[in-house]
């Protein structure tokens, strides 16, 4: 694995962009397969597209059903013990090679800062191997297929996946396993490659994101609401969120807490800012200029909080703002979008007022419920 990582680093010139690293991985695999195909054309052809119905060329020794002599077992050609063993090993390795990048994509391209499930990652590696083995055994045998259905029927395999997208990964691993099992790894490879690239692209552009939903960047800024709240108690608002952070992320968050604390002032003092504007974009200077034009015109005060540059994803710019009472949130966001002229990808504004209102509603509801109980 370190050798592979080094190779990928050399090819991508140590780039962290997932797309480049994926391309590098597949390029390495393609070169290795090409070398193997040059030296072992029969074996590679047998596992890559046999299931598509092609016929092995050249003489083939058929099995003698009447003899128990050594020549009854075929010494070479499909069906011999050695070839079955080699083919099995090759299809399992092939399935593994195709699924490795899928797990990387699964772990990296998580939507909205979600955490990946380690069980699913391991399942993605193991499941295709098992499926390939089953399909390889069952192939062309109706009797075995029925037996398998009976055996599988006796085993209960039910689990609830947190994210419906995980199911798609599981389906992909089954598809790759099937392709390997019927010795059509070429099909599995194409499906796996297309799947990975489509996923990375949709993740990169946050495809299908509802404009009202918080961005990944907004998730990061949510703890800052507490700092901007009128009480300003400086408590960490979401313990689970903080616990789920990596040490690096926690350190970065702590750094931001301290910086924002300095800016908003001491305890019990009326906060200078009441909202956080999050902008995602590719061209930071241009976007900054265009956003700040609007902020200068439409807010009471504003301050650039932080610029976060992401690898493989749009950069994020955070502003602490205090809105004018006459300008509601949507008007400001509309103005930013209009002035941005397509330079920014998303803009989101979180206001402390909304948070407070929500909290009040919740408390009212709780009181009512308590009243009913009494």
């Amino acid at each position: 694995m370190p050798v592979l990582r080094e190779l990928i680093d050399v090819i991508t010139m140590k780039s962290d962009r997932p797309m480049r690293r994926l391309v590098a991985y597949y390029a390495i695999v393609a070169v290795v397969v090409a070398i193997l195909a040059y030296f072992f054309p029969g074996e590679i052809a047998r596992i890559s597209a046999k299931g598509l119905g092609d016929v092995p060329e050249g003489p083939t020794v058929l099995t003698d059903a009447l003899s128990s002599s050594p020549t009854a077992a075929v010494s070479f050609g499909p069906g011999s013990l050695f070839d079955v063993a080699v083919t099995t090993v090759l299809i399992l390795i092939g399935a593994l090679i195709l699924m490795l990048p899928v797990t990387w994509v699964y772990m990296s391209a998580r939507p909205s800062g979600g955490q990946h499930n380690q069980n699913v990652v391991q399942t993605l590696i193991i499941l295709p191997l098992v499926v390939a083995g089953i399909v390889f055994i069952v192939q062309n045998s109706l009797a075995l297929a029925f037996s398998l259905a009976g055996v599988v029927g006796a085993v209960r395999f039910r689990t609830t996946l947190r994210d419906s997208r995980d199911l798609v990964y599981i389906f992909l691993s089954i598809v790759v396993g099937f392709a390997a099992g019927v010795q059509s790894l070429a099909v599995g490879a194409v499906i796996s490659i297309v799947f990975n690239f489509v996923l990375v692209v949709t993740w990169h552009y946050d495809y299908g994101r509802n404009m009202l939903m918080p961005t990944a960047a907004a998730q990061w800024s949510r703890p800052l609401e507490a700092l901007a709240s009128p009480t300003g108690d400086h408590q960490i608002p979401d313990r689970d969120l903080v616990l789920s952070l990596t040490p690096d992320k926690a350190a970065a968050l702590a750094d931001r807490f301290s910086r924002v604390s300095k800016r908003v002032g001491k305890k019990r003092k009326k906060p200078r800012f009441d909202s956080i504007l999050t902008v995602t974009c590719d061209d930071v200077p241009d976007a900054q200029r265009r956003v700040e034009e609007v902020l200068a015109r439409m807010t009471k005060r504003w301050s650039l909080d932080e610029i976060v540059t992401n690898t493989g994803k749009p950069c994020e710019i955070y502003y602490l703002t205090r809105l004018k009472k006459s300008i509601p949130r949507d008007v400001l966001l509309t103005a930013i979008h209009e002035n941005a002229n397509g330079v920014i990808a998303t803009a989101d504004l979180e206001t402390s007022g909304e948070v407070d209102r929500e909290k009040e509603k919740r408390e009212e509801k709780k009181e009512k419920n308590d009243g009913v109980k009494v």
Partner: protein, 300 residues
Amino acid sequence: MTGRVGLILLVCAMPWAAACRDTPRAKAAELQKIAATRRQGLVRRIAMADANPDKVVEVAKWIMPPQLREISGLALTSRGTVLTHDDNAGRISEIDPKTGILLKSFSLIGNQKEDFEAIAIAGDDIYLMASDGKLFRFREGADGQQVQFMMFDTGLRKQCEFESLAYEADSTRLLMVCKRILDKQAPQDLVIYHMPLPLNRATFTIVRVPLHQLIGSNKWKNFRPSDMTIDPFTRNYVIIASHEKGLAVVTPDGDVVRSGPLPGDHRQPEGVAITKDSLLLISDEANVMPAAITLYRWRP
């Protein structure tokens, strides 16, 4: 470091490993060795079968590879090999029946998909027949080659469903036996179509064999031929039926010489051929048991 050394060793070892295996010369030598051993084994088994002529025993049985699991017709070449094909694809394979070596495979251009049921060789031409009576004429191809073909529609699809085709060299005509007569009003006899070459619908003739004569004392309710061949010694037609697991010998004029059960245990016999050195070849489609070609001593 260890990983790098391992990788370098692997890359260096690959050409060496490849050179040790699968070189054409090594493969050819191995093939010759297997063929010689199997020929000797066949001679020994034939001698044993001849020593006990009352008992019908298998002298060889070759298990077919996956691409021939739906093996259908058989046709003997002048070289002593047999051409066979898959039921669904226009793909022809040449097998040496005495050594069980699949020599080559070629296909009709464009990977034709039809319900191919029988094959016959007429001189340099090979005819592949579909169940609806269409005949595909082509020349033998090299291993892995796709060959051009000409299709001739006999126009008999409304009369019969076909599974049997043979070439009668003496009269230069193709013979097609009706498996199932589709016209329910017509008498349910065994119908043999004679089709002189070159093919012309106007020259087709029919020979009818009364079914009750064919069934004779056997407990069959019907007789649905799955293939036919011509006995090289008597020139009689040898017809097998998959469903009834039966074999019938009929003269070219339609007289029944004999009929009875097939030798051995056959799950789905789809092809028959008789060699000039008295070997009866029967091909079985995969049905619970794997597809196979079985050889018996033929006694006319």
